[in-house]
Assembly symmetry: C2
Homo-oligomer: 348 residues x 2
């Protein structure tokens, strides 16, 4: 099992809106914090070695994998599959497939990362497409939420798979033995909702998951006993982005009001520690690093505009998933749900 | 036309989590602010007359319509249609149908209000079900957002109707001649999204609406040039409630941090005016009063837990829609979209 070996993480160093400025500094940051982590920095080797942030990296503890291409943030996935197989994103995923790394992290474009990952790593048995799973803060601590946009539509059976994968992720990463699953709907009463969620709910009740029934949008953040929220990718993506939008709007409004006049500016000085602590608790950078679940390998998607702190968090998510053997756990659980013998027996 | 007559609004006085404590005080509040508004207070007349808030009402400027039943907040719509036809909610809607009032306002349960309104008032020609339209704050001022949960599924043609009705509402209430419509999707690129939104987008381009294309969840709050956001009721309801959830979570977090120690408590004292102004700007009570669009009459839904200020806002929404002749505008525009002669010729 992977749990005893030191984790090796492939970093798509060229990906994201910013690229090397962020990714190399994050590599240095992770090196300082986790001494057993090895990283393979994938990208343009001369550019990497000559970059100002390279000096902060302990070069003895990384490998550099040279690539010549970069996937653009707006590039069509099909174009990447055809013409960008020497890109930093592509090679980082290949390193996972080839067992050279146990996870890869990219801030590159989501569509390209998903398509390339599916093509290179393949899906776990019984899973047709990956689901994007991210962590958001909540009254109970935090919640894992999926799918956040990998699939624009989902069948009830797929939503059940999302619940299974999400549960295994929480068991492994949060060390919760029996995580609570909620199904996102427009009302808690069973009569509400469309046919898809009703059918999914029936299926979820038949599983051995700790399924607590329907939850509403506000429950994601306010319900204390909730670990996993499941929905289709269209709903999840719209809701997550709406949440990001209002949070930004509230922040801007608060800043405007603190800048309004001399009295409010003085109040701002007094309030600085409070505002900083509040911001830290809801800081989306703390929650950066979404997992593409359902692949035969760990792929972590960072926000494209992540800064060093945020990108380092995404690398840390990869580290946690490696050390907790998340892929084996999911594979095993999917096999159980499908009433087949455990994965180990298949692959032995 | 209705614009010259003084507005008459039927108030479901018994509806909502709180009932008379809120509704009667809100009636008094509106009376003080708008001298030309008449209200018909619908509910248990002895209870209304003996209520402590009744003394604040100018009794000469209201009518009381006595009813014996109350619709419970968790009551099934079908039960209301069969057994609650002498309820305050039902009678308030009937007063609109019978021309005694030009709008009704209820904080009662959404499902019952929608089902009763459809049954009593009927839909406008070509509209199959109402859409719930609410106002949310945004960088550009505010945005009208629909559907927020009236329909768990919607066809492209219905989403186009939502856009038409929303546009007419904004034209009438906000006095914007050419309001900008966005279609909620998971990406701005036309290749993204499910078949439903792609088909809707094509249809919207063929209308004479000021359609600006796809918008994402964050755009609702952050895009300056946006007046109407259209989506199906499942997505809208989940996203709106998610937004309410994170806003509440941020507020609680901020309050906790301000209460943390003696220094933060002093900072809170200094910051009180700033926090109050910020809260006022994003206060959901200011935006209370969702319109059930598509009916042959004005029905305004207040939040069930609205307080006096919030419920008075919902009454004011009704007032604005009456004085702007919103139903005639929508009817006329729907007829135009359906390439039929204008409504006035039909009903003349």
């Amino acid at each position: 099992m992977s749990t005893s070996k030191p984790p090796i993480i492939a970093i798509d160093a060229m990906g994201g809106d910013i690229g090397l400025d962020v990714t190399l500094a994050a590599v240095a940051h992770i090196q300082k914090r986790y001494h057993d982590v090895r990283m393979i920095v994938v990208g343009d080797e001369p550019a990497i070695r000559s970059h100002k942030s390279f000096s902060a990296i302990d070069a003895a503890r990384i490998d550099i994998h040279h690539t010549t291409q970069v996937v653009a943030m707006d590039e069509a996935p099909a174009n990447v599959l055809r013409h960008k197989t020497d890109s930093s994103m592509w090679k980082a995923i290949e390193l996972v497939r080839d067992g050279k790394a146990q996870a890869c992290v990219s801030a590159g474009n989501t569509g390209a990362l998903m398509a390339s990952s599916r093509y290179i790593l393949k899906m776990l048995p019984g899973i047709s497409r990956p689901a994007i799973c991210a962590v958001v803060p909540s009254r109970g601590g935090h919640v894992h939420w999926l799918d956040l946009g990998a699939n624009v539509e989902a069948k009830p059976e797929q939503l059940v798979q999302f619940a299974v994968m999400g549960s295994e992720l929480v068991k492994a990463v949060d060390e919760k033995p029996n995580p609570i699953v909620g199904l996102l709907n427009i009302g808690e009463e069973a009569i509400k909702g469309n046919d898809m969620v009703k059918e999914t709910s029936k299926l979820l009740e038949k599983t051995d998951l700790n399924y607590s029934g329907f939850v509403e949008g506000n429950d994601i953040f306010l319900k204390e006993k909730l670990d996993i929220v499941v929905c289709d990718g269209f709903v999840g993506n719209v809701a997550l982005k709406s949440v990001e939008g209002i949070a930004k709007y509230i922040q801007t409004t608060l800043e405007q009001e603190f800048r309004r006049n001399i009295f409010s500016k003085i109040a701002a000085l007094f309030s600085l520690p409070v505002l900083r602590r509040t911001k830290a608790r809801i800081d989306p950078r703390r929650y950066n690093g979404a997992t593409l679940l359902g692949l035969q390998g760990i792929v972590i998607k960072s926000h494209g505009n992540a800064d060093v702190f945020a990108f380092a968090n995404a690398i840390n998510v990869a580290r946690l998933e490696i050390t907790n053997g998340i892929i084996d756990h999911i594979r095993c659980q999917l096999d159980r749900q499908q009433n087949r013998p455990a994965a180990e027996e298949h692959t032995a």
